[in-house]
Amino acid sequence: MDLYSDIVMDHFKNPRNVGAVEKPDGVGEVGNPTCGDMMTITIKVKDEHLSEIKFKTLGCGAAIATSSMMTELAQGKSIEEGMSLTRDMVAEALGGLPPEKMHCSNLAADGLHAAIKDYQEKLGK
């Protein structure tokens, strides 16, 4: 028995899209190091689509894996689709998460939404 599913373990061990995109169109910062989890999502937007997404995450295995999976799920999606990405979708794509980890699995979707909002605000001004 594993604590995490094989998919979680794969994304934890080999996280995709780690880092920060250059000259990001939007930046989302969520979480708080005091709580042990913090995430920075950077996005590039092309034609109202998420052309590039990267993450940096401080947190547990679940936090890292959800970040990684989220970047894969959102990659190439429209910003509306990005906004409607939920933590449940991420958790499901990961083959499930332990109940006590649902907390941090929020972060990834929240981070993406924050980055998109940041992009929209920058556009707006």
Binding site: F12, K13, P15, V18, E29, P33, T34, C35, G36, D37, M38, M39, T40, F55, K56, T57, L58, G59, C60, G61, A63, I64, E100, K101, H103, C104
Partner: protein
């Protein structure tokens, strides 16, 4: 990746010593009699085995009398027993303890505070995990029934000055308990030198079986039973005696007594080597606990820019088993109350890693960790938004 696993979580639990297992084995299905059944031979065989194990444990603790040892199911029970018995049944309703005690002390106290009108003073500790004797002195009132301070802390390894603290309690006529889970078998723990009236221990912390512990109760000290309903343990703790485990605890005590003298300096050196090695290769790490007054087998560090559980997960891939005081390992939001009590900011405490050794730990294990750990940390730091390396 090599295949040999490296177990560095001996403060959580230890491997049952093969010699201990050999001592236990005949009592599982050969001599399985009830030790209370003294009217047939198998019962007497069980009883005798139990009493000689009690003697071995009394020997390790330097107790005056084997009758001072009462066998329990674990240190958690021993701790709950002392707290509940003294505070629920007596007339005095105040207890003093420290902020770095195990939950098995803090939680029963909290419960009694909440539901049974008990008052508790939780003494703070300094950055090394030390309790101030003066503060203890000032905290004792006429209402104080008990002072309970652990011998060594299980997370940071600091050894507290039990003798001095017990003397302060006794000067004011207050009973003193110490939770010695992390010292028994690791450094000499002599009840008469410590001066405690009660002392808790768990066998699985020194290569004995899980599910067996003891409470030392100084001769002449009254303590109402916690678990009642049978004459076992001279009426102090009811329940059919767990002979194989008791025999195992006795044997483990004997072996630990023989090992301490050579093991303590050896493990102390390994811990030093591990710290030096990690510190040389990893920037921004700190060591927790008292640098001198500590158990020999434990190293607790905080690693900036990473979270403990993630480190554990990566080390697990290499077969390296350690622990962390990060909140993520407990499913709560606050990291270890011990790390917060020594003044670490939460974001630092989240990056804590505890290595705890035993006589099975080899120098090559330490070398391997020194080799692997910095890489693991570096990979995690590269992912971390709080690390600008």
């Amino acid at each position: 990746m090599s295949d040999k696993p490296i177990y560095m979580d001996n403060a959580a639990t230890t491997r049952l010593d093969p010699e201990v297992f050999a001592a236990m084995e005949p009592f599982f299905n050969k001599h399985f009699g009830n030790a209370a059944s003294k009217y047939y031979q198998e019962g007497r065989t069980a009883h005798q085995a139990m009493e000689s194990a009690r003697g071995q444990l009394a020997g390790l603790l330097g107790a005056d009398d084997e009758k001072e040892i009462t066998i329990t199911s674990c240190a958690t029970e021993s701790n709950n027993w002392v707290i509940n018995s003294l505070l629920l049944n007596g007339t005095k309703k105040h207890v003093i303890t420290s902020a770095i005690e195990h939950h098995a002390i803090l939680e029963p106290i909290e419960f009694l505070e909440k539901h049974h009108g008990i008052k508790a003073t939780i003494l703070p500790v300094d950055e090394r995990g030390m309790v101030s004797p003066q503060l203890l002195k000032d905290s004792i009132t006429d209402e104080t029934a008990l002072v309970s301070i652990m011998h060594a802390n299980n997370e940071i390894g600091t050894v507290l000055p039990i003798r001095e603290l017990a003397d302060i309690a006794h000067e004011k006529g207050v009973l003193f308990h110490t939770d010695a889970c992390q010292t028994v078998g690791k450094i000499p723990v002599k009840v008469n030198e410590l001066g405690a009236d009660f002392l808790s221990l768990s066998a699985h912390k020194f290569h004995g079986p899980k599910g067996t512990g003891a409470l030392y109760i100084r001769k002449g000290t009254r303590l109402e039973p916690f678990i009642r309903g049978g004459g076992q343990e001279r009426g102090r703790r009811a329940g059919t005696s767990n002979i194989p485990s008791i025999v195992g605890m006795g044997k483990a005590a004997e072996l630990a007594g023989k090992r301490i003298e050579s093991e303590a300096p050896r493990e102390r050196e390994l811990v030093e080597k591990l710290w030096q090695g990690l510190n040389a290769k990893m920037p921004k790490i700190r060591r927790n606990g008292d640098p001198e007054k500590r158990i020999p087998n434990l190293l607790n560090i905080c690693v900036a820019g990473v979270e403990g559980e993630a480190v554990l997960g990566y080390l697990d891939m290499y077969g390296i088993m350690v622990s962390s005081g990060s909140a993520c390992t407990s499913g709560s939001l606050d990291p270890s109350h011990v790390l917060l009590a020594i003044g670490l900011p939460a974001e630092v405490a989240h990056g804590s890693i505890r290595f705890s050794m035993s006589h099975e730990t080899e120098a090559s294990d330490v070398e391997r960790i020194i080799e692997i750990m910095p890489d693991v940390v570096e990979r995690l730091r590269q992912m971390s938004p709080t690390w600008n390396g």
